[in-house]
């Protein structure tokens, strides 16, 4: 079973103190399997601190950080063998070109000589920086550098990916491109652990969330479960996408479904539906929509549900 093990990221009693100040306090968290987990919490909550320990940029005061079961501090090279990380906003050696910087990382990660150049180029295309491949990084803007950083983290097709606010500094198009990249990665059996303040981003791409504040883990689980557990309202907003534009008559029918309190168009083929009854209510709504044969192709709790939960949770604690 050992070599069939699923990718995992595990914190055991992870504690980090800076002098008297405790930035991280006995964090216990085990993420296992191919999924995308959002890491949420207010400024100063300890997200970056956690991710830095997972890349051995800082040492834990107590406890352990394991990637695929290997202690990151004790055996860094082995633990990070199959891991790609982007922590905060790194600067890149200014006299290197974008391609050289990526080939350097590819070499470090052990990508065979013949493939390095090709992989660096496809990584550059992935972040839409191919045209800048041979320009030195020193003159790049913040967002351009961050695109290269994203490309670097994904080199070598790692199975565990740690991202600390990866879209920070990116323009709106860049943000949505990076979101798409992450969504595609999800299809390839990856474990993605990503800190973010953008709740719509998290609810769009993540399956689960871990919530942290004052260095303590407050909740970890599937987004729906967390939303259900911590939201006060019994109404949930669900985003539903359809394969074709909806006639008003269909809209009218949907309004009539039991438990639905509000239906709003959010695009040509998208609706926001307020539904009562928590998860069972959502289940019923989905089966009704499907039985109506009106072309449902997407169904997920809206970002605002997560936002609501987030605001409730962090209000309660502080």
């Amino acid at each position: 079973m050992a070599d069939m093990a699923e990718p995992s990221v595990q914190a055991i009693d992870l504690t980090k103190r800076y002098g008297q100040f405790t930035a991280l306090s006995k964090l216990n968290l085990k993420i296992e399997g191919s999924k995308c987990v959002g890491f949420l919490g207010p400024n100063g909550a300890g997200k970056t601190t956690t991710l830095k320990i997972f890349t051995d940029m800082i040492r834990p005061s107590e406890g352990k950080a394991l990637i695929n079961g290997i202690d990151v501090h004790r055996q860094k090279k082995k633990a990070l063998e199959n891991c790609g990380a982007l922590i905060e906003t790194p600067e890149i050696y200014p006299s290197l070109t974008a391609k050289e910087a990526l080939i350097m990382i590819a070499e470090i990660k052990g990508i065979p000589r013949k493939k390095r150049e090709r992989e660096a180029e496809s990584a550059l295309s992935r972040v839409k920086m191919r045209a800048w491949a041979d320009k030195t990084v020193g003159k790049f803007s913040k967002g351009m550098k961050q695109r290269i950083n994203v490309a670097a983290a994904l080199l070598g097709d790692p199975e565990v990916i740690l991202l600390d606010e990866p879209t920070s500094g990116l323009d709106p198009r860049g943000m949505s491109e990076v979101r798409d990249i992450i969504k595609n990665l999800k299809r390839e059996n990856k474990l993605i652990f990503l800190s973010s303040h953008l709740l719509n981003e998290v609810s769009e791409i993540c399956d689960e969330v871990a919530m942290i504040n004052h260095g303590k883990l407050l909740a970890y689980g599937k987004i729906e479960d967390i939303v259900k557990k911590f939201s006060k309202e019994s109404t949930n907003i669900v985003e539903v996408s359809f394969s074709r534009p909806l006639a008003n008559s269909v809209l009218h029918k949907i309004r009539g479904i039991n438990g639905v309190s509000k239906v709003e168009r959010s695009g040509q083929t998208d609706l926001n539906i307020n539904v009562k009854g928590g998860i069972p209510g959502q289940e019923k709504l989905l089966s009704r929509l499907v039985s109506m044969k009106c072309g449902v192709i997407g169904f997920k709790p809206a970002s605002s549900a997560l936002e609501e939960t987030y605001l409730n949770l962090f209000k309660e604690v502080t």
Binding site: D3, M4, A5, E6, P7, Y18, G33, S34, K52, T55, D56, M57, I58, R59, K76, K77, K78, A79, L80, E81, N82, C83, A85, L86, I87, E88, T89, P90, E91, I92, Y93, P94, S95, L96, E100, A101, M104, I105, E107, I108, K109, G110, I111, P112, T136, N149, A152, G156, D157, E159, L162, N189
Partner: protein, 283 residues
């Protein structure tokens, strides 16, 4: 259904030695292309041409009496300056910049030991300095050839080797300071002050006030670079001028002593710098 995960074996991590080579390659490239390298090259050439001009114009007897005398005054007197300058340029902020400029964030999160990064950067900086040293060597030999014809005395080869040992140790020290401080400018200033002022001050004070051999001072050991070009080799200890309050004492390290001092400085500072870098946090 969860897809079963099988560990990928496509990419095998390179050995530490292979990763050191990678680091050397890219940092050498980074140094070589930097404006800093260009400035250092200009300074070295300017210093070389300045001495060339002064000697050519004034034709001082001290330089022109013999080829050894020429080399000891030209090379022996100035090469330490070139070496210290290149150690400061290439090593002064080599490690601190990884923290202050946040470039370390790009590299350290990868499957690579910190010692690999340190060693690789050290060797890359050394190679950069050796290029600068070679430029100064070329200017020296060019002048010597002009005045004394082809061929340099074999003492010059020894002196050249000693100067390589000196770079190795000064660079180790520069890396230690750049590892000790998180600020680039502090690291650079401390290295400069130590190498150009503090060491020679201590050397003079110890020799004259305490009247002991300053065997613990790096620049004392490095004087073999010049002394090997003096014939006969200067005596271990002289003291003179008995009338004045202090006697003026001079000490000269023998070649083995000089080499041991320089290598000891390298070993101690390299290990200390590496240990500090291993433990330093990217906060």
């Amino acid at each position: 259904m969860k897809a079963q995960h099988t560990s990928k074996s496509a990419a095998k991590l390179p050995s530490d030695a292979a990763q050191v080579l990678t680091i050397i390659k890219y940092f050498f490239l980074d140094y070589f292309r930097s404006r800093r390298f260009f400035v250092l090259l200009l300074i070295t050439i300017a210093v070389g041409l300045l001495i060339t001009g002064v000697v050519g114009y004034y034709r001082p007897q001290s330089f022109l009496s013999s080829d050894l005398a020429f080399l000891s005054n030209f090379w022996g007197e100035w090469v330490s300056f070139v070496i210290v300058l290149s150690a400061v340029f290439f090593g002064g902020d080599a490690i601190s910049s990884e923290f202050q400029n946040k470039t370390g964030y790009f590299l350290v999160g990868n499957p690579i030991r910190r010692s690999t990064i340190y060693i690789g950067k050290y060797i890359a900086a050394l190679l950069g300095s050796i290029i600068i040293l070679l430029v100064f060597t070329a200017i020296t030999v060019g002048n010597s050839t002009y005045y004394f014809g082809f061929g340099v005395p074999y003492e010059f080869f020894e002196s050249f080797l000693f100067s390589i040992v000196y770079i190795i140790s000064v660079m180790g020290l520069a890396f230690l300071f750049s590892s000790l401080f998180k600020s680039n400018s502090v690291a650079i200033i401390v290295t400069v002050i130590l190498m150009l002022f503090v060491f020679s001050l201590i050397e003079t004070l110890v020799a004259n006030l305490v009247v002991t051999e300053p065997w613990f001072v790096l620049t004392y050991g490095s004087e073999i670079i010049r002394n090997i070009l003096i014939s006969p080799y200067p005596p271990a200890h002289t003291s003179s001028a008995h009338g004045v309050p202090f006697s003026i004492a001079t000490y000269n390290a023998s070649v083995p002593e000089g080499l041991i001092i320089m290598l000891a400085y390298f070993v101690v500072s390299f290990i200390a710098g590496l240990t500090i870098f291993e433990r330093k946090e990217f906060t």
